[in-house]
């Protein structure tokens, strides 16, 4: 039983690390939307440094190397050296690209963090919708008459078999893409597992003596559901929800990767990977970084879910032995 808490701690540490990064890193990273000279600073590998030269008329250029010959400043943009009279130059600043730059010379690290904010919040919002819908559906199945239960659950079983990506793509062909529609679509098509879990757990509760006692007191079904059943669902629901969050992040990434998720210019991990994939021969790391960010989040959430699950099982076994 020691494995549970340790795994849970490890998972929570990973999630905490990622959340800290996503929330605090924008303070030190450059503007994720700033386009810095695509020719001089585009498609740079990780750990690159460029010199950003700003001229009097407000234009700026970036180059990998800088040299001074008397009154003239020479800047290497791509493969060619270009010269600027020093008196026109307002400032020369070095800029680091921790994870390289994309085709437009935007900072990949900064965009990755910004995209993380988007992808994680889309995941959490659609998860909230899915959990709400699923809980309502599952509770309706338990509280309603037997035929309703059978109908609702048979529908859930069949709907669990939907090829989600196809259905989501078909829907997104006809709706205007926005953050809101993505959240609605994801949430609306992933509550079925929650409904099944809620029903199963609620049925277990219904056989417990305390439930029979509450029922014997003549409480209304709604009160029974809210006050006497729902609190017992929190642990299994939390375990299931953390795992589901990973699935939702993967689904959103696939949708955005195909160009039907979060619309540009909002970055998301999936759309960043899609942009990177267009130039994978030149810069294979461009699709790899967002991919790793997704893998890290899903791994972290799944580890937390595993830990919670083991913890729950341990509690139950201890409870039964007593």
């Amino acid at each position: 039983m020691k494995g549970g808490p340790r795994r849970l701690r490890f998972g929570l540490a990973l999630v905490g690390f990622e959340l800290t990064l996503v929330v605090l890193a924008p303070l030190v990273l450059p503007n994720p939307h700033a386009i810095v000279d695509p020719r001089g600073a585009g498609l740079l590998p990780p750990f690159s440094r460029v010199f950003v030269v700003t001229l009097q008329d407000g234009t700026s250029f970036a180059g990998l190397e800088l040299s001074r010959k008397g009154e003239v400043l020479a800047l290497r943009r791509g493969s060619s050296w270009e010269q600027v009279p020093e008196k026109l130059v307002v400032s020369v600043k070095p800029q680091w690209y921790l994870l390289g730059s994309d085709t437009l010379g935007r900072d990949v690290a900064a965009r990755l963090v910004k995209a993380g904010q988007i992808s994680l919040s889309v995941g959490v919002s659609s998860l909230a919708l899915a959990v709400t819908l699923g809980t309502l559906w599952g509770m309706a199945a338990v509280l309603g008459p037997r035929w309703l239960d059978r109908l609702l659950m048979a529908l859930v079983d069949a709907a669990l078999a939907l090829p989600l990506l196809f259905v989501l793509l078909a829907v997104s062909a006809f709706v205007r893409p926005s953050l809101g529609t993505v959240v609605l679509m994801l949430g609306f098509f992933s509550w079925m597992g929650v409904a099944r879990l809620v029903r199963g757990q609620a049925l277990l509760c219904r056989e417990k003596p305390w439930f029979l006692a509450a029922q014997g007191l003549g409480l209304k079904p709604l009160r029974l559901a809210l006050v006497h059943v729902l609190p017992h669902l929190v642990t299994p629901l939390a375990t299931d929800a953390t795992l589901r969050l990973g699935d939702l992040i993967l689904l959103e990434a696939a949708l955005s990767f195909l160009g039907f998720g979060v619309p540009p210019p909002i970055p998301s991990w999936g759309s960043m990977a899609a942009e990177g994939f267009e130039v994978w021969r030149l810069a294979f790391w461009l699709p790899v970084f967002p991919g790793l960010a997704i893998a890290l989040s899903v791994f972290a959430f799944a580890t937390v879910a595993d830990g919670l699950g083991e913890l729950g099982r341990g509690e139950r076994i201890a409870g039964e032995a007593a």
Binding site: A158, L165, A254, W280
Partner: protein
């Protein structure tokens, strides 16, 4: 048991019908009808009216719905705007290619997953078990495009062993049957490996869990007491029982397999259902989107139901 399966079949039909109706009403109720989307906006109102009548758009929506539904059920799927061919032909050409990719991808997924699980379950909670657990969780967590990007970079670019896209080179038409087979196999390698690598984690996690459950059973202890080797007990006694629930798991993972191969087909330009469907969605090719959604949904829901049937037939504890 039979009543439960029949009930599930009825529910599956309802879900397919709901999805089909959904695609119809989504199109029918979306602003701007087909005639205005397809045609040049500068055509005369009379010509537009003729176009609307050609597509039957002047009829009330419920009549259109009923005739569309009967057409779809009877396999009359209309013409694809994008490919300028009957939808049925387009889908019939794509379906076998998806089946090839899904079959070999699933094969690799199972082989890799089972191998991982057996190594893990032979010495549970050891160093290797923990390492492989982390690896299989990592495989589960990786998005398909990450695996595809790494495989492409490694085996199509740095070491160009396999072609990065399509099912065959244009000149492969002239090859013999064996030559064409080898050509397809070479092109299949990277997409199928992507399916296998992304899916094997989930399989390994599941089989490891059920193998460890089986190892707790009395019959395993009895076999060990009889003097069977540990390997024999694991492979001959525990594994078949642990694999039985895999039927359901495979059925349940079918939607993920199909959804995952959509992305993979797009990345590797594999001419299957996923790529055709993606092209249709990008081009707003309405008949192809509708028919594709209905076809893929029916296939996956049916596969799922069949897995349920197979499981109740294979497990004597459920069979009644």
């Amino acid at each position: 048991m039979t009543t439960r399966l029949l009930r599930r079949l009825a529910a599956s039909l309802i879900v397919v019908w709901l999805v089909a109706s959904g695609t119809f009403f989504l199109v029918a109720l979306a602003p701007g009808d087909l005639a205005s989307k397809m045609a040049d906006p500068r055509i005369s109102p009379a010509a537009r009216q003729r176009l609307r009548e050609h597509f039957g758009l002047h009829r009330p929506i419920w009549k259109r719905y009923v005739s569309w539904l009967t057409d779809t059920v009877s396999g009359n799927l209309g013409d694809s705007f994008l490919f300028r061919r009957p939808v049925r032909e387009v889908l019939a050409a794509a379906l076998p290619n998806t089946a090839i990719l899904a079959f070999w991808g699933l094969f690799l997924e199972l082989v890799l997953g089972l191998a991982l699980a057996l190594v893990q379950a032979s010495k549970p909670h050891s160093f290797w078990d923990r390492l492989l657990s982390a690896l299989s969780l990592g495989a589960y967590a990786m998005p398909t495009f990450l695996v595809a990007a790494v495989l492409l970079w490694l085996f199509a670019y740095t070491f160009p062993l396999f072609p990065p896209s399509h099912m065959a080179e244009p000149q492969a038409q002239g090859l013999s049957f064996g030559g064409r087979l080898a050509e397809t196999a070479r092109h299949l390698a990277l997409p199928a490996l992507t399916v296998g690598l992304t899916g094997c984690g989930a399989v390994a996690r599941y089989v490891r869990g059920s193998l460890l459950d089986e190892k707790q059973q009395a019959y395993v202890l009895a076999a060990l007491a009889r003097g069977c080797s540990k390997r024999r007990v694991l492979l001959i006694h525990a594994l078949p029982n642990a694999l039985l629930p895999m039927i359901t798991v495979l059925g349940l993972s079918l939607p993920f397999l199909v959804s995952g191969s959509l992305v993979i087909e797009v990345i590797f330009s594999w001419p299957g259902m996923g790529q055709v469907f993606y092209a249709a969605v990008t081009a707003r090719d309405v008949p192809l989107i509708q028919a594709g959604t209905v076809l893929v949904t029916t296939a996956v829901v049916a596969g799922n139901w069949l897995a349920d049937v197979a499981y109740s037939w294979a497990d004597p504890r459920i069979r009644r």
